[in-house]
Symmetry: C2
Subunit: 301 residues, 2 copies
């Protein structure tokens, strides 16, 4: 993994047997300690992270995309005076937006990122981060593992009066084997890392993901029937959300797509519409087939 | 699973993406709430459960096997006046002891059991329990899942000011899919349940496990060189712990066993000695080979 993402030695790589939403509690339990932390609110998952932080201190919403119905990534944030950390969600699966680059957190404040849905989909400068967490099941491996990459010096500042498995230091000290981890999941992650390296690394992953996303957004932007939800500059290369001119068109798409071997296009139940998830493993020809199908629905065939 | 273990409808079956040691915190977080709970102390894992309970109230050690160096299961317990629950560890992997039957908890007090290492190795009367938890990796499936079987009425009494994933009711309400679970692990557990049914169910598992354990303990009891750690009546049918007359004999056993395809015989690092784990999946002919090897070492071959 260090070869894939250039992870410096002063960062620990931890494997937790849990989903990433456990981090919504674990991050503030370790690092908030009654203080203030700044949160960037860009969708459903960041909202849940903010709610959980309230148990341990005061989350300050430094920026919010709520006014645009989460179709944008905020361009500026109002940081509080001395936040314990800044938290953001790099990719928003439900609304289909993605940070093009990290928010400019105040100097010296640890940047903490929920990168569950885009880690290792593109190159990343680990040094900008205090802690990154990601559930495995998008670009890393099967569900049931959360990967944490964290600066060792930050881990050392964590609250100590917590159950051992709620402290990052336990995983660091015991090399993620304080108790028996999700061995199958970790094994598959190692296999996926080998695959990424063989295919050309993160730069190649980004090139492929960009090509897939450009093809799909390009079609949507010229369509009279289909319309992308996310605004240019804020668009996700992982989850492309869009709507048809009518519910009937959307139903027709689902039907035709199903017949052509494409499933899971219905948007998250909380927002409706359509969503095409095109993670690392999804091939360009799949996007080509989707664009053809969108076009066929538009031409009434 | 309900077919395997006769789990009544007023019990929920929950799959948690975590190891069983998370339950050491989650049980008292849900049900202790500053009160007193009675714990049966029979080994390393029960000790860890007691330590974690201290964060949430007062664990009362109702019985302890410490005086016998954990070679026995206590025959009587001193219950406190009104414990919130009684907690015991049905099988002790490190010392190799096992409760032959459940401790006689006071009437009306929920019995909570860490059955990580013997659940579904023998028939079990679920109705005696308030809550049973078990990590998957002994008799159920791969690591990374904890199975919880709990009386719905007990779940409903759980503390509510906890993160959603720390409340049993979240798993019950959302059928273990509040977040993406360890899908592969749950799938394999279903396959293992089918296997248990095909092989003859829990009664047949018990018959096989008893036959394996009897063969091994029978040999140890007549041996001049080898000696079982656990006392008759307290012996585990899952983990058979024993010592040789000298370290040299133990090293010779490890060497010869390795050459014959048997590994993992070294006891847990915290107690030393030897340990043969003979879970459901371990075949009788494996125990026969071990006995032959123990005998060969004794005869000096």
């Amino acid at each position: 993994m260090r070869a894939v993402a250039d992870i410096p030695d002063d960062y620990a790589i931890l494997f937790l047997t849990s989903g990433a939403t456990v981090q919504f509690s674990m991050v503030p339990a370790n690092f908030l300690d009654g203080g203030v932390a700044d949160y960037c609110h860009t969708g459903v998952w960041s909202g849940k992270a903010i709610e959980e932080a309230r148990r341990h201190g005061t989350p300050h919403v430094a920026c919010s995309a709520q006014a645009s119905n989460f179709s944008t990534i905020p361009t500026s944030c109002e940081w509080s005076a001395a936040p314990r950390y800044v938290h953001f969600t790099s990719n928003n699966t439900i609304y289909g937006t993605q940070w093009a680059t990290e928010p400019a957190a105040p100097a010296g404040v640890p940047l903490i990122c929920d990168a569950s849905s885009d880690l290792f989909s593109r190159p990343i400068d680990i040094r900008k981060y205090g802690l990154i967490y990601a559930s495995a099941q998008k670009n890393l491996g099967p569900p049931g593992v959360t990967l944490v990459i964290a600066r060792r010096a930050l881990i050392a500042t964590g609250h100590k009066d917590l159950p051992p498995l709620s402290q990052y230091r336990t995983y660091e000290r015991e090399r993620s084997m304080h108790n028996t981890p999700n061995t199958f999941g970790v094994y598959v992650i190692a296999e996926v890392m080998e695959w990424i390296l063989r295919e050309g690394g993160l730069a190649e992953m980004e090139r492929r993901n960009r090509a897939k996303a450009d093809l799909l957004y390009g079609f949507l932007d010229q369509s009279q029937l289909w319309r992308a939800h996310a605004q240019p500059g804020s668009r996700s290369a992982m989850n492309v959300t869009f709507r048809g001119a009518s519910a009937a068109h959307e139903e027709r798409l689902l039907e035709l797509a199903e017949a052509r071997g494409m499933s899971g296009l219905r948007g998250h139940r909380s927002v409706g519409g359509m969503r095409a998830s095109i993670y690392n493993a999804f091939p360009l020809h799949g996007v080509e087939r989707l664009v053809q199908t969108l076009s066929d629905v538009e031409r009434g065939s």
